[in-house]
């Protein structure tokens, strides 16, 4: 993974000291809360319902064991002993004291981490494929470009006061695990017929109140031109994006209102003026950053491990875990292991300091000391020898992190909702927990198969409900929590926005409703169909009929 050099280290330390100065001015009253707010937001510090929340960037989801240990330390000393993995591959602490934050930032700097631009109207942490570098079908490793974007976007002199927040995602695989079509900019690495690497550039996707699927503005952008092209897009957005209404300020609205073609023309004109400038990436620089992401020292191993087959016959739980949580690796004899942070009845993505330390230990022992945070709020050990799988599984099971549910219904994505978030309309965590308990039976879960459940506590859609196969949206109806159900969304290469199926449900009713939808699917599915396949084949009517048939006038 990337390692800071003296420049990067100085930079994050300088930034941490700057925040210490700002915080001191706030604590002495020199700055009012109103003046301080934009400053703390630029360092990822939010004021929530009960305390400050600090959002720490995990650069494009990559984490070292050393960094994870530091997060465990922060959880223990400054929080209540746990942290939270977010849908943007970051880590949040929900119980932080303002006066502690400068010290936390300095500690983070010591392990090459920071909170710069983890909130505010600026370019946020770039997200990517959690299997980057290891996925069997990968065309090109996206991480080096994520790192180049990280550096270029850090305290950008032109783009630190945008109309609204700005999120970039990069994938290098045909299977899109980075949801590039629902980001402000999505970049898909591929190769042209000459074998050169370049990006498909997708702009103006997004969720929130008005979901949009991004539009392709360029099929092939040579990698050397990445930053100049991004700068052109951002320059157009910074000047023309709406600033009169916060709900219309994202780039998706600009692209929609201008029309893709007009927007594209504007960007190309801007780009023509700067493409030959100082942002062109020299090949040596691409190679230099790329070298940080060179494959680890894989051993020459056989891909077939007979002992695995024996154990999986004897241990159904191991078999289930292999099937659901372990993914094919590009390197023979290795596997990608998903660490489920979705134990039955637990708050999705919450991880204790003890678990963090234990996983850091496992990463050192079994996966070259590295981990990933996924956008579905789990962890990944990317480079595990197949011969180590059983030992790893036993250790993960001992710390409650081997629930065999990755990609299944109880591996739900869920925002913090009304338990923490001051914008929330309804609670989301308790609903996710009830659903997780209702579908706790691993056999039944596996029979249901791949099914993505995504839940947001309000219309801001941080839980990405629009693109869940099943989505739940919390609302507030005259003081009562109400849950809307959407069906048919998808965040992969066939991105689709789910449709609201009918009137909402209360907190108990929504769990029954999910069960009802699942039963409808099971009764209609044809051999091998996933939920989303069946839904796409039959449409929403059968689901709707079953949902509302038994219970008139709900």
């Amino acid at each position: 993974m990337y390692r800071y050099d003296e420049f990067d280290s100085d930079f994050v330390l300088q930034r941490a000291r700057q925040f210490r100065r700002q915080t001191e001015r706030r604590l002495t009253g020199e700055l009012s809360e109103e003046q301080f707010k934009p400053l703390r937001l630029m360092n990822g510090l939010y004021l929530q319902l009960h305390a400050y929340m600090l959002r720490i960037n995990v650069p494009y989801g990559c984490l070292s064991s050393r960094q994870l240990r530091k997060l465990a330390h922060i959880a223990r000393v400054y929080d209540k002993g746990y942290g939270h993995l977010t849908t943007r591959q970051n880590v949040q602490f929900n119980w932080i004291k303002l006066e502690d934050t400068p010290a936390i930032l300095e500690q983070l700097a010591s392990v090459e981490m920071h909170c710069i631009q983890s909130s505010g109207n600026c370019i946020r942490n770039t997200t990517s494929d959690p299997y980057a570098g290891a996925a069997a079908e990968e065309i090109h490793d996206p991480r080096l470009y994520c790192e180049l974007i990280r550096q270029w976007s850090s305290l950008h002199p032109e783009f630190s006061f945008l109309p609204r927040k700005f999120k970039i995602a990069v994938t290098g695989s045909p299977r899109d695990r980075a949801a590039v079509k629902v980001h402000d900019i999505g970049l898909r690495l591929h190769r042209n017929p000459a074998g050169e690497a370049g990006f498909e550039v997708i702009v103006g996707g997004g969720l929130g109140r008005t979901p949009f699927i991004g539009k392709t503005v360029r099929d092939f952008l040579p990698v050397q031109q990445l930053l100049s092209y991004l700068e052109a897009i951002l320059r157009v957005y910074n000047q023309l994006g709406r600033r009169d209404n916060k709900y219309k300020a994202r780039i998706k609205v600009l692209v929609h209102e201008m029309g893709t073609e007009a927007f594209q023309k504007c960007v190309e004109e801007q780009w023509e003026q700067i493409r030959e400038g100082g942002l062109t990436l020299p090949q040596e620089e691409i190679d230099r950053i790329g070298a940080y992401f060179a494959p680890p020292a894989y051993e020459d191993l056989s891909d077939s491990v007979p002992a695995l087959e024996t154990t999986r016959r004897e241990e159904p739980a191991f078999d289930a875990w292999l099937q659901n949580n372990v993914v094919e690796h590009k390197q023979a004899g290795y596997a990608i292991v998903n660490v489920s942070v979705k134990a039955v009845g637990a708050a999705p993505g919450d991880i204790s300091a003890d678990q963090m330390e234990a996983v850091a230990e496992l990463a050192d022992r079994f996966s070259f000391g590295e981990l990933r945070v996924t956008h579905s709020q789990n962890l990944v050990l990317c480079d595990v020898r197949k011969t180590d799988l059983e030992a790893l599984w036993r250790r993960l099971a001992a710390i409650g992190l081997a629930t065999p549910n990755v990609g299944l219904l109880t591996d739900s994505i869920c925002c913090p909702g009304l338990d923490y978030c001051s914008l929330a309309s309804a609670r989301s965590i308790p609903v996710a927990q009830s659903i997780s308990e209702r579908f706790a039976d691993p056999g039944r879960l596996r029979d249901i198969g791949e099914l993505q459940l995504k839940m947001s506590g309000c219309i801001n859609a941080c839980g990405h409900h629009h693109v869940g196969h099943i989505g739940i949206l919390g609302a507030d109806k005259k003081g009562e929590e109400l849950y809307q159900l959407t069906l048919g969304g998808s965040a992969d290469e066939n991105t689709a926005i789910g449709k609201i199926i009918g009137p909402g449900f209360d907190a108990e009713g929504i769990v029954d409703a999910i069960e009802n939808v699942v039963e409808t699917y099971l009764s209609l599915r044809q051999d091998g169909e996933r939920f989303i396949d069946t839904y796409q084949r039959v449409g929403r009517d059968p689901f709707k009929e079953n949902l509302y048939a038994s219970d008139q006038g709900r």
Partner: protein, 162 residues
């Protein structure tokens, strides 16, 4: 209000033409875009230097063809969060090649100064009484830069490449 330029607090030789006021015969004068359009001939007939002030929603294309008439361009920051003038400044410096004084006016606070300087501003009307102190803090805190801009500071990438 204090004017910071070249790292010093300096006197401001410029006057701004008030709305509806007579054009003064002498002295460096800053006019709004509207005043420039309405009284172009009279303004050009003066012997003294001329500057123009743009609001954040007035793009640089409005003055691109007239730039040679101005020794100063003032860009207004109506609020902390309105970031359009940063783009306007870079376009003026890096694309249109403007070499005169580029002045930040309006809501100009310590925390924006470094961004402004990097974007191409070289003069700042700062409302704070501790303007010069603010300027020194802003310039001293961050000393690693990742983006090439017209301020000419070497980026981390340039330094790495030697």
């Amino acid at each position: 209000m204090p004017l910071i330029k070249g790292g010093e607090r300096v006197d401001d030789p410029w006057i701004s033409l008030a709305e509806g006021a007579e054009i003064p015969p002498h002295g460096p004068l800053i006019v709004s875009l509207q005043q420039w359009r309405d009284q172009r001939a009279a303004l050009l007939a003066r012997a003294d230097t001329l500057g123009i002030r743009l609001a954040s929603d007035q793009p640089t294309s409005e003055i691109a063809d007239d730039l040679s008439h101005f020794e100063l361009v003032a860009l207004e920051f109506p609020s902390f969060g309105d970031g359009r003038p940063y783009s306007h400044a870079r376009i003026l410096r890096e694309i249109l090649g403007f070499e005169g004084e580029l002045r930040a006016v309006g809501d100009v606070l310590l925390e924006q100064l470094h961004f402004m300087h990097r974007a191409g501003f070289d003069a700042f009307v700062v409302s704070s009484e501790t303007a010069l102190e603010d300027w020194r803090i802003a310039e001293s805190e961050i000393r690693v830069w990742y983006q090439p801009t017209a301020d000419g500071r070497p980026t981390a990438m340039m330094l790495r490449r030697g």
